[in-house]
Symmetry: C2
DNA sequence: TCAAAAGTGTTGTGTGTACACCCATGT
DNA sequence: ACATGGGTGTACACACAACACTTTTGA
């Protein structure tokens, strides 16, 4: 059987889902959104949100749709991670999933997915429960990719508002990389890279020296 | 509709294929294997080989099976690239493809896919014909990934026999990266990395100084 | 003896890292 | 005046890039 002589109605097809690891930074912690399963299989286990790809939507559109349904956030950074297709990863039937990861700003969050009694909740990546299906593996993949991307890219800014202090930016990096960075080296590097731009604004906060606010400079702005 | 209450027989499913960009190095050129399509759509256009994923095989197994059917080579380096799922990428029906790329040694090749009259042929990546579907995009992705991987990894060795000269190894790097490298810097770096090991063997070839043969050292060997 | 590829070191430049103190503010 | 986070510079180690000549062989 090959593509050249194929009648799509003739064969059984696998189901195709998208599953998304949704990251945010909240309370100085890197968190992902999990959903508690209500039915077999893996009833009562936590899982990353996902759903079926509709016949007329692209994979990315499917991921965006699910993301919106789950978080009510529209403006997200979304990137494809990997396709997981082990024939036995879902005991019900053959399900191939295209995994994505998304970064959302906690300021954009309108849902209160933080109560112990709800079936949707943010979990610190350091304290994850046992997950359904092969979702552990998907989350590990996502974390690894996020760590590889956060340096030298616009990734970290996805977690921050338009104006931010360099300390805030450094915090994001430290949370994602899970290690401390040297303040002077971090600032020098970020400024050398030219990905941020000083603004005139200054934020007063607490009884200490106020902080200069910076703006993210996209490669388009730099020209 | 979500995964929790899903009857797989109830909905229409997309078709799922795997398509593989198969690289080899031949005649001092980086080449990929293309197949000429016999039927609509894109009749007579060249395409990367691929086929449907069977219900009980993993994505990687499907890629390996197709690869074997096409090249008769079993021992290949295979890596997942990206899933392409635009709803209109195939005019017949919804087809989601998981793209892989494979590296094979030209010495392993038993097919003679090199005649102009055959419908399977190796093409230099520098002189590719117009491709069917979105295969241009898939090939670009594959090339980019290959370039990113070739430095600091075991990628280049996949194109070489067990014993090779450092000049051969450098040639692979140059072909993949499409630029010349400095001989001294290349040799120093490779030797420093500890990924190759000198052997006692020496290859005489042509009327010039013979070359020392090296062996690839896997991370397992290094311990 | 010559053509042809193998093999070999040094130096400058840039990048990553380690490290400690003063500054501006609110209370 | 003091507690708190904001902000700054220097020195060393290491990786990368540029660069040219000698060695060994077969014909």
């Amino acid at each position: 059987m090959n593509k050249k002589s194929y009648d799509p109605s003739k064969y059984e097809h696998p189901s195709v889902t998208v599953d998304t690891v949704i990251f945010t930074v909240q309370d100085n912690d890197l968190k992902i959104l999990l959903v508690k399963r209500k039915y077999w299989p893996y009833k009562d286990r936590w899982a990353i949100p996902g759903g079926f790809v509709k016949m007329k939507e692209s994979l990315e559109d499917a991921a965006k749709r699910e993301l919106y349904e789950e978080t009510l956030v529209n403006d997200v950074y979304l990137e494809q991670l990997h396709a997981f297709g082990d024939p036995r990863r879902d005991p019900r039937t053959r399900v191939i999933t295209i995994a994505y990861y998304a970064l959302i700003k906690s300021e954009d969050l309108r849902i209160q997915a933080d109560s112990d009694t709800k079936d949707v909740r943010w979990f610190s990546v350091k304290k994850l429960p046992k997950l359904a299906f092969d979702h552990d593996k998907i989350v590990s993949y996502a974390l690894e990719k996020l760590r590889n991307r956060v340096v030298y890219s616009d990734t970290a800014f996805q977690f921050l508002p338009a104006l931010f202090t360099l300390t805030e930016l450094q915090n994001i990096h430290e949370l994602v990389l899970d290690r401390e960075l040297d303040k002077r080296n971090f600032r020098r590097k970020i400024l050398m890279l030219g990905v941020v731009e000083e603004t005139e604004e200054i934020r007063h906060e607490g009884r200490h020296r106020p902080a200069r606010l910076y703006r993210f400079v996209t490669s388009a702005d730099r020209v």
